[in-house]
């Protein structure tokens, strides 16, 4: 059957059809749609596939390990920076190995369309000695999932699947299987000692996994996803990986004159790279993300061969690729008929009209004007847009949860007022432990948990702590005296500003929770309600 699917959806469908038993994920652009697709899938429901959101990427990765331990197939999905959050279980999952297959799907975001860095997850695969797949098309993404599970179960290792924004968020027609594979039965087949990473076990596992590396590389040499296609003109040989392969072939609709090595499975097939290097005068490496292959190729091929790519400047060192950049690197003309229009003004994203974060920033700015050098430590979510005019309200945004801990460190250094602003979902993801640090020392900070009852930035997914925030804060040791809840609306401004002022002036840890539903989910809920009424 043919279906028009986003890359993310093709992966989700591929996993369901490959006998998936559970997906574990925290929402993050551009990976969110994978889990959402599985949540909506009738077959997934029928099969009881776990698909509820996890609190963060680390809990997701660990739950997947548990499912694998019991012999079933698990999928973990995240954006690239999420892999930092779960780096500990990810790297150690190669040491434990798998029983049921595990795919760790990581969606990188080159050019940072919705992210704070452009790290390339392929480095993590190499670092952890985990085989890595990088599809070049939606169809390949679908097909690869089934093969990645087979490989994972055959080699008893997790597989990293790396996609980028354009693959995740681009639709294409995908041919899907008519008969989904059965799910694995629960079993106790794995070697129990492998899962206990005491040094004695871990040393043995480290030797075993190291010994598997040449086997994995030979698999990459023989993989149908890594193709060496010869061409008549040997003045140049091209290595193109993942989606970059498409940009290359777009330049040559009738076939490329140069020999091309397409790479979509790692470890890097060194034998094929050397074959290309021997046959050609120069090499050009085209890859999305950081110069991962290029760096390795420079250390692989015979001395004296010219290698071109992101490191030599033929392609830009940073940023997402596109057909035009690849054309230039190949010396092909780029034809522009209409020049850039100078009258067009930039239109940055902004907080929605009526959004509660707006009222929080309005109140905060009004109060902080009364102090010398206040500092507001921000976090990851829609409210990061508070950095932009008209609010210009935050002074930092680093990683999930950093608002509270940075505010505490700043207070430790003598900063006052030191304010943290964090969203509800980000708070449960990585803010709770930091708040415990602050409470234990009664740090002189004011924490604002701006609760819009959802994970808004990624489109309104469930937020793990909804209806539990006061209880969580009390559980961590907050007393009601400095734990305040307000409704962020313009009419409540006097009350909100007074509470902010009082809590900033209190020299200890206080938490204020402005709570009002996200405008996006509110409109969706109203629509659903109306549709229901119309039916009734």
């Amino acid at each position: 059957m043919k279906k028009l699917l986003l890359g993310d959806e093709a992966i989700a469908q591929g996993a369901i059809d490959a006998g998936l038993s559970g997906v574990y994920a925290y929402p993050g652009t551009p990976s969110t749609e994978i889990t959402e697709y599985i949540q909506e899938s009738p077959l997934a429901k029928e099969r009881g596939i776990h698909s509820r959101w996890s609190t963060n990427e680390k809990t997701a990765m660990e739950a997947a390990l548990g499912m694998s331990y019991m012999g079933k197939r698990a999928l973990v999905c995240m954006k690239h920076v999420g892999l930092n959050v779960c780096a500990d279980p990810f790297v150690n999952s190669a040491m434990t190995g798998t029983n049921g297959g595990i795919i760790v799907l990581v969606a990188d975001d080159p050019s940072m369309h919705s992210s704070q860095d452009e790290q390339d997850s392929r480095f993590y695969g190499k670092f952890a000695m985990i085989p890595t797949f990088e599809p070049s098309s939606q169809q390949e993404a679908y097909d690869m999932v089934a093969e990645a599970y087979e490989l994972s179960e055959r080699m008893k290792l997790p597989v990293l699947m790396r996609v980028t924004t354009r693959m995740a968020h681009s639709r294409a027609v995908v041919e899907i299987k008519d008969e989904p594979r059965q799910q694995n039965e629960l079993n106790y087949n794995s070697v129990a000692a492998n899962w206990v990473l005491l040094p004695a076990n871990a040393r043995r596992r480290n030797d075993e996994v190291t010994a598997q590396q040449p086997v994995l590389e030979q698999m990459a040499v023989e993989s149908k996803y890594n193709q060496y296609v010869d061409g008549p003109d040997h003045s140049l040989g091209i290595v193109a990986s993942g989606i970059a392969y498409n940009y290359l072939m777009e330049c040559y609709p009738n076939g490329c004159a140069y020999p091309v090595l397409k790479v979509s499975q790692y470890p890097l097939p060194k034998k094929l790279v050397c074959q290309l290097a021997e046959a050609c005068d120069e090499l050009l490496i085209i890859e999305e993300g950081q110069p991962f292959i290029e760096d390795m190729v420079r250390g692989v091929i015979p001395f004296g061969k010219n290698v071109k790519g992101r490191l030599s400047g033929e392609l830009p060192r940073t940023g997402e690729l596109n057909p035009d950049l690849v054309k230039r690197a190949l010396g092909l003309p780029v034809e522009v008929n209409y020049e850039k229009c100078e009258d067009v003004a930039p239109r940055p994203p902004m907080l929605c009209q009526g959004c509660g974060h707006r009222d929080v920033y309005t109140a905060l700015n009004e109060v902080l004007r009364e102090y010398d050098n206040p500092r507001v430590f921000g976090d990851i979510g829609c409210y990061t847009l508070g950095f932009l005019p008209p609010y210009k309200a935050i002074h930092s945004c680093v990683d999930m949860g950093a608002s509270i801990t940075m505010a505490k460190g700043a207070a430790d250094a003598g900063q006052w007022p030191s304010v943290a602003i964090i969203g509800d979902s980000t708070f449960t993801h990585s803010g709770m432990t930091g708040l415990l640090d602050a409470i234990n020392e009664n740090a002189d900070i004011t924490v604002i948990i701006s609760d819009n009852l959802t994970t808004a930035m990624t489109g309104g997914q469930d937020s793990a702590g909804t209806n539990k925030f006061e209880a969580i804060c009390r559980g961590l040791g907050m007393t009601d005296e400095h734990l305040k809840v307000v409704v962020p609306l313009p009419k409540n401004m006097p009350e909100i500003t007074q509470i902010l002022r009082d809590e900033i002036n209190y020299h200890g840890t206080s938490v204020i929770i402005p709570r009002r539903e996200c405008m996006q989910t509110l409109q969706r809920h109203l629509k659903q309600k109306k549709a229901k009424e119309n039916k009734a």
Binding site: H113, A172, N337
Partner: protein, 190 residues
């Protein structure tokens, strides 16, 4: 056949539903499709675009090259201009004339219209007004699609059928409103 389309506007204006209809029509015709969308932070009131490519031959790149687009369909006049370098020599711009002003430095409307008129092939339509006047206030984007039908190279009836399939679940009233909107757009091509 091969048509490279840039759909653009401001986050929340519903460019993806235009893409869905075109995609549905193309899928039915067994054409190859690639459609790169924008999700995430930029959807919050910022500029958004989607690259939609349909072709009878396999498509490689998800993104359209500079000077490669056959059509720019825009829900907002200034946003249409943002992608001018992507338009090919014989390419068409089909745009709404209604400015979406959510930035302090939005250019003068006369300047925007002048810039648009410098393009060889352009249709500028007050789709919001046309939609209201014709009693289909929620189908302004489909009027724009109707106006782009020839430039897209898709037969009119195929778009009608696609609308029936895409909106079928929402009932006859919704289907009829969108078919009417498509017809209003078609008139604007003449």
């Amino acid at each position: 056949m091969k048509t490279d389309i840039i759909l653009c506007g401001v986050g929340g204006q519903g460019i993806l539903s235009i893409a869905t209809i075109i995609g549905e029509a193309a899928l039915k015709e067994n054409l190859y499709i690639k459609q790169a969308e924008v999700h995430g932070m930029s959807q919050r009131g910022g500029d958004v675009q989607s690259n939609l490519r349909i072709s009878s031959d396999p498509i490689r790149s998800d993104l359209i090259a500079l000077g490669g687009a056959d059509v720019i369909i825009s829900m907002e006049p200034m946003e249409a201009l943002r992608y001018l370098p992507y338009l090919n020599k014989n390419g068409w711009i089909i745009t709404s004339s209604a400015p979406y002003v959510n930035i302090p430095n939005y250019p003068d409307m006369e300047v925007v219209l002048n810039d648009l008129k410098k393009v060889d092939n352009v249709i500028i339509l007050d789709i919001e007004k046309a939609a209201k006047d014709n009693g289909v206030p929620r189908s302004a984007n489909v009027i724009l699609l109707g106006a782009a039908q020839k430039a897209l190279g898709i037969e009119y009836e195929k778009l009608e059928d696609a609308i029936r399939r895409v909106f079928g679940r929402k009932g006859d009233a919704v289907v009829d409103a969108n078919i009417k909107a498509l017809a209003i757009g078609r008139e604007a091509q003449k």
